[in-house]
Amino acid sequence: MGQKVQRVEDQRFLRGLGRYVDDVAVEQDVLHAAVLRSPHAHARIIDIDVDEVLDLEGVHAVYTYDDLVGPMAEPLPLLIPHPALTHGRTQWALAKDEVNYVGEAIAFVVADDRYIAEDAVGRIRVSYEFLPPVVGVDAARAAKHLVHDDVPGNVGARLEQNVGDAITAIAQAPHRLELDLTIERSACMPMEGRGTVARWDPDLNRLQLWTSTQSSTGVRAAVAVKMELDLGQVDVITPDVGGGFGVKINHPWPEELLVPLAARALGRTVKFTEDRREHFISSAHERGQVQHIEVGFDDDGRLQGLNVEFWHDHGAFTPYGLIVPIITSTQLLGPYKPQNYRVVFESLYTNTVMVTPYRGAGRPQGCYAMERTMDAIAKYLGKDRADVRAVNFIQPDEFPYDQGLIFQDGRELEYDSGDYPTSLEKIKALVGWDEFPAFKAEMAAEGRQVGIGLACYVEGTGVGPYEGAHVHIETSGKVKVATGLTTQGQGHATVFAQLVADELGVKFEDVEVVTGDTRRMPYAVGTFASRAAVMSGSAIHLAAKRAKEKALKIAAEALEADEKDLQIVDGVVSVKGSPGTSIDLGTVSVLSNPLRYAFDEASKAATQFSVGDPGKPPVAEDEEPGLEGRDFYSPERATFASGMHAVIVETDPETAEITILKYAVVHDCGHLINPMIVEGQIHGGVAQGVGGALYERMAYDESGQLLNASFMDFLMPYVTEIPDGIDIDHLETPSPLNPLGIKGAGEAGVIPSAAVFAAAIEDAEGIAITAMPISPSELFTLRLENS
């Protein structure tokens, strides 16, 4: 632990031997699916004519809503219900009577290859009666038209939380400010889109499903229910996943149900691989919010009361409940003590693709609201922006600190540990905060404009309910580890092997980790909320500990030694101080499983005439055969990582081009398992943050058409847009909540981006920045408006 160990998975990926979902069953004669998607944002379906489809050679089946029966004909599950979600709505696997966003699935075609399937989709004729589309927060709030006839005001949910009496506190505060902020939609945009392969095995009466998901067990449960199968008849295997960033936590996608439906009906392996346009219009987006903030504070900038209202655009459906706006409303507080806090949000329907978590999952918006407020207070008081933040920090001796709110997991928002003053000192040093005014003056003398921004965040990571792990030491001495959550590039096969090697005393190379395969670990939740290292890491550590305890017990008997005198080094159990008295773990594994039948030289040692006390049962009453350990980790609540970002930007006085001169990150995720991987996560998060702050947006027009649904028009950053070097400093404040003292690290890099860039650009320009992302042309327009 703590070592920059090179990744084991790289060997496979670098040789072109990764196995992503579109690579599955490539050797077989599989059928390919394509989907007819709504070209309209809001319309009633009058008729669907599929007559010409089956005439096409190579087409095997076409499905519309009318072909669905039983649970498959019911709406998709509302995955995370909440009492405040009074008007939750989910779509059908195939549209029933009405379409509510461009991209909604209407028909599903299965053919010999994708080309023919797309030809067939082009032959389907749908008659629509157009309905007025609702696009954007303003239109949703105005509610001149409704997305769903039975949802008044387009309001899916309204949730308010209070700590103290913010309204009175603000009224009585020495100073008051109000801010109105907006932030637009972006999306996860993994390089690999969604995909599913299914094979029905009539001999075993069993379904095998490969899908590019962040929750194998979630898909398994949903598919079993929808297809009226026993859970035991469904295996879900998550192969290599080409990035997730949140979008693949949604399940089941319509295709995750339709592919196995067709596979069973046709008796053939069926594959669906979405294309990039489909990913843009029919997966999920995030971020879009409108915020109104009222704050009261004293002469030092200390918060007296904070009242936040925001309107969250959740798109046409709410399968993922209120997770994103709840996270915004709670994580908004960051490292600060608001004294009195009121937050209320409305989660609104629009005729656009649904909104579900994207890396950061509501935190970037919350951080944006809070940090813009801190900057506004500093500006109002004429104080240093870092000083205003410092007076509001929760202090290191105040942990655990209960913010008095209910978090996304239904538990109290109680921070476990942290050291925000030290982080602030580190970020100031790293970015050169105190030296910046001199630099700014120097640049101004050259006719150049620069600005600096600072943003702080706290991130609840490692939410429950649980993860589990299974550690099996085979008779070869090799260790096979399984955990149920999935992997999308985080290097789990490496970091989890590090944990097992450390705990068990085996060679790192001898440990093999499998994730996201329900055959190997059927109990699991999924990969989201920066939880894999905390949850599965802890479970794997505990499971390895159990395997080790068992190994030592068996070895002690074999070596006629006391367990306490034994050590395990490089897979060999020996008596401390007398290395000659030893037994390797492979042999211990042989002995752990009393045999009747020998199958090789090693196993002879465990047969009935070779081993065991004839006066005792071969397997003791409270034991099981096999050298295995299984355990689960289920913490009371999340653990809270934190960090601070600072950026220096230059804005071109003529063109308003925004150039990043320096980007600095101070990051505290407790103990680091593999610093190389943590830094990689930060790099990737920062890059997505740069994209979200300066380039990416979902350009819906008023009719609900997504105008930039391609990589040509959606400006995802290339290397040319990303800073050349990201300065990173770590602080390691361990979590008291798990055995390894770790906190999550996956999302942190992206959380402060909108806030930190808005601050830096505002500092460079002297113009209030209240809408993100911001492009050079928007900055240019702002200059004109403010001149």
């Binding site: 998975e9 060997q11 040789r15 992503y20 690579d23 390089m191 294309d275 990589f711 990201i726």
Partner: protein, 160 residues
Amino acid sequence: MTEELLDVRLSVNGHTHEIRVPARRLLSDALRHDLKLTGTHVGCEHGVCGACTILVDGAPMRSCLMFAVSAEGSEITTVEGLANPDGSLGHVQQAFVECHGLQCGFCTPGFLTTITAGLRDNPTPTHEEARDMIAGNLCRCTGYQNIVKAVERAAELGAS
């Protein structure tokens, strides 16, 4: 209507393959689905992301923008052909391991082929040239920091 099939001879990583495909079959699909060489990935299908980049007669090309029939007679190299003859990783691949130049690995084959051609043309790139070399490929995981380092490390390995 039955689609007309065409005989195509593809030379990939030193091996010759004969396939019968429709004229509209993309080279990326032919490599992946007909030749079963799934190391080449498709990220956008319109030539922007670079994940499907292969070497055609040594030049980096987007295989999603070529038809299989148009590759007849060309020497193609895919990611599966980048390791050394003894099976060890080539310089670019080795540099990616050392520098943590990949996370999910989906865009990686396109970077490896692009950099292989780039370093062949310019074996000692400056830092700016190393950044330029990868400026046409998208990666959503790494923030490119370690891919730039990998270009520079691969150049070092190539020089030693």
